[in-house]
Amino acid sequence: MSARHVAVRAGAYRDSIRLMQISRMVSDLPGVSSALVAMATELNVDQAIQMGYAVPPGAGGNDLLIGVTVDEAGALPAVLERLDAELSRAPAPATTADGGQDTAPRTVAAAAKRFGATLALVSTPGRYAFVEAMDALDAGVSVLVFSDNVPLAEEVRLKRVADERGLLVMGPDCGTAIIAGVGLGFANVVRPGPVGVVAASGTGAQQVMSLLSVAGVGISHCLGVGGRDLSAAVAGASALTALRALDDDPATELVLVVGKAPEPAVADRVRSETATMHTPALIVPVGPGQPDLTAGVENALRALDRAVPDPWPRWLPEREFSSAAGALRGLFSGGSLCLEALAIAEPTLGQVRSNIAADPRLRLDPSEPPAGHAMFDLGDDRLTLGRPHPMIDIGPRLARIAAEAADPVCRVILLDVVLGHGAHPDPAAELAPAIADALAVRNDLAVVCSLVGTADDPQDVDRQAGALRSAGAAVFASNAEATRYAVRLVAA
């Protein structure tokens, strides 16, 4: 037997939203077929009458109108009790007035605006990087695009827009930068000093700065520009901006341009720019026919009138390697270090196959087992799609070391180990056991490492060198020296 309850309560104002909530709560109670809890405005009284409630005359907008229909009359007292409880319920205690902390920014532009940013660091997968980098430029901040696999046309567009707005685009595929002592991307910890670096080569610049660090020379800024910046298509757009910026920087006394030799037209542009600069500039090229990076650093030291360390640091194992004919296999995480090693090895060893060989006939698919001398850049764009860089993820190189040790033709394994922020927190901890294992099964095998790092790097260069040396590897601070050492072992 259903029952209806109608009541008007004077002076019991609640706001309409609260009352709609209460109406809904009561309607949802078991056994309730309809409910209306509202101020007795004309509108709501009409509504109640339509719902079949006999509203007492005289009710007005400041009175609370209650109408409840239950399926069984016996349920009514409990329902009304709940209703009263709900009506008298104090609001939940407020949380902090501003709703706690700010929501996390969801776009680069929103973050830049909120943070008063001067720089954006973009490291999304390459296909998304352009949108984020444009967002940074649109927000009026310079951008470092760490991401690789960014189409060339997008790089050209980014740099053109940056040029028009007086901003700097570092990258895409900019592995390293140091701005006012802050390392970005893969960055070694260097002291402040007189050398400014324009880096079209990430690991190349890391090698240069690490060796300068050994020589006691610090860095003002290192502005990465990306490996394609000096190509004809990009025409050194960012390098020229970076050169001007460093020329204008009072802390910079010498500018080094580190990278693959630019295309001739671009080289002319860079040269005419450096010719007009007040600050002296040196090109430190990487690649075939060029002096190596270590030689470039030595030139820079001489230009600064600073002593050249002789020799550069090396950590040689107790057991000396014997020379014997066989194949040299390079397993690099740094593209420029691989390129430098190729340039040094080829005049002595002849053809060295590589996944980054300029000559297509010498190009080698890294998934195929190599024959003869070979060097792999395991950080190449095509190998890092959807996976971490080999400077972060050592795993693939461990497997390769074991594979090379199992190849009787292979006599020397040449590795680079790059330290600094962003890189693996303790690469020797993973590499040393793998190297020891390889040397244990092959007493005719040699392992040679170049170790790019500084005393202040979080991984501690000396500790890393010690661990690698204890595992039996010959370790060099100079990649060029490491390569020459490795080449001598197989060329004998």
């Binding site: 939203i17 902090t96 007035a97 920014p105 352009f130």
Partner: protein
């Protein structure tokens, strides 16, 4: 040497990071100031269009110009006149809310409102006759309010004899309009057309409109922008709560109403009672003020800012600055909310009305942080309201200092929705709205929150991409 790059090298960079957490961690290890973006990849199928639009070199300055114009736009109430005078609406012509729609696709409340307007204009003998004529008569023409430079809430039906508020933006030399608000409950704009609904409309035409027109003429133009700025500091968000705005309007006009010797005291009292007793009366001034702001940002090539969000009860539509008057539509959703009396979600019509023009300029759902009294529409809390407003900053291009939110330390409301930011973040505009009954003639059944369909923004993005130069 540019000063921007010089400034970059002048000291420790303040870096925004997006992507690999490792690189943000490296900055943390160096105690270098940085802020990480909570990034999620956009859908891959939208990426080609997104890249093209993001790469449009016109976009940054176009959006900056849109923001500048939106913030500069003024809104003065200058006149109250019949629609036939203001926009030359002729017998048989009706405006409606949202993107274009015809009778066949019109929803219940729009049909109900059109029937009511036919009866009001004496174009039909009874509701059935009106419906039949609307379906078949060639002399009947429907057009969106937006196409005529105006806006109207809910069904938004405007017929020639209805009185309109006329607003001017002198900065950009533009006029906008909106009909007078009828009150809550069973009203034409919610699709009701019962005799009392028409009776009220006739009184509004015979008494309210002329009385307001005379009072306004005596008073002089009213700065609606100024009133909106005040109301958002008094707990109104300008869409679902307009109480403070309504009372301020009444405060401004009441003396002139009272001094109007052509009107009896009883008539003035009824006008005052009607205006003051309808908490939403001022909505119909916020909306055309918002329309002026949004229209000021219109027609800028390469601009990705939304210039209209509107619903006709069937479809949700948006317009953007860079694509002019083209509508990008998707099916309108049913709002989530609270229902009046015995009504429930089954009685609700999908989202309807031009009133989302308020969100288009940072009011309504975007200004929830300023309206703590109404946060419980969806069982929310004050913190939810603040979070909602904060989230809207992520998809907007500007903050409007004229509409400052005390709860956010007087930060301006988030203004100017950027289509690309919606696509990139997946954050949809938050809209506060009334809920109309599905069945023609019902009226209002509730109020709550709703979001536009993402589809609208995808359509707009594609069109913006077509108009952008290839990267």
């Amino acid at each position: 040497m540019t000063t921007q790059v010089k400034r970059l090298l002048a000291g420790e960079p303040r870096t925004v990071t997006v992507g690999a957490q490792l690189l943000a961690d490296a900055l943390a290890d160096q105690a270098a100031p940085h802020l990480n973006v909570e990034w999620r990849p956009p859908a891959d199928d939208l990426l080609p269009a997104l890249r093209r639009v993001a790469g449009d070199p016109r976009r940054a300055s176009a959006n900056a110009l849109a923001a500048e114009r939106m913030l500069a736009a003024g809104a003065q109430l200058v006149d109250v006149r019949r629609a036939s005078d203001v926009i030359g609406l002729e017998r048989g012509q009706f405006c409606h809310a949202g993107p274009p729609v015809d009778w066949a696709r019109a929803s219940g409340p729009l049909r109900g409102a059109l029937i009511g307007a036919m009866l009001l204009e004496g174009l039909a003998d009874d509701p059935d006759d009106a419906a039949r004529r609307l379906a078949t008569d060639t002399g009947i023409a429907l057009a969106p309010c937006h196409d005529r430079g105006g806006v109207a809430p809910m069904a938004g039906v405007v017929s020639p004899s209805m009185w309109l508020f006329v607003l001017r933006d002198e900065v950009h030399d533009r006029t906008s309009w909106c009909p007078l608000n009828e009150g809550l409950g069973r009203v034409l704009r919610y699709g009701a057309y019962a005799p009392d609904v028409l009776e009220r409309l006739r009184w509004m035409g015979d008494v309210l409109g002329p009385a307001l027109a005379a009072a306004l003429a005596a008073h002089g133009p009213i700065d609606v922008k100024g009133l909106v700025g005040q109301m958002v500091q008094m707990g109104d968000e300008g869409h679902n709560r307009n109480r403070a705005g309504t009372l301020m309007l009444l405060r401004d006009l009441l003396p002139d109403l009272a001094e109007d010797t052509a009107r009896s005291g009883a008539e003035v009292a009824r006008v005052a009672r009607f205006v003051g007793g309808n908490d939403h009366f001022f909505l119909n001034l916020v909306m055309p003020a918002a329309k002026l702001q949004a229209a000021a940002a219109g027609d800028i090539p390469g601009c990705t800012v939304v210039t209209a969000m509107a619903r006709n009860g069937t479809e949700f539509g948006i317009q953007t600055s860079g694509t002019g008057r083209r509508w990008f539509t998707g099916p309108a959703a049913v709002p989530e909310g609270l229902y009046i009396g015995g009504y429930g979600p089954d009685d609700a019509n999908p989202d309807i009305g031009d009133s989302a023009i308020t969100e288009t300029v940072g009011l309504g759902g975007f200004a929830m942080a300023g309206a703590p009294a109404i946060v419980r529409f969806v069982g929310g809390t004050v913190s939810d309201a603040i979070r909602t407003t904060r989230e809207m900053y992520e998809i907007t291009v500007a903050e409007n200092p004229a509409y400052a939110l005390p709860a956010l330390d007087f930060r301006g409301v988030p203004t100017g929705i950027d289509v690309t930011a919606v696509i990139r973040t997946g954050i949809l505009p938050q809209i506060n709205t009334g809920i109309a009954g599905r069945v023609p003639g019902t009226g209002q059944v509730g109020a709550g929150l709703v979001q536009p369909p993402m589809f609208c923004f995808v359509g707009a993005l594609d069109a913006l991409a077509e108009a952008a130069p290839a990267v």
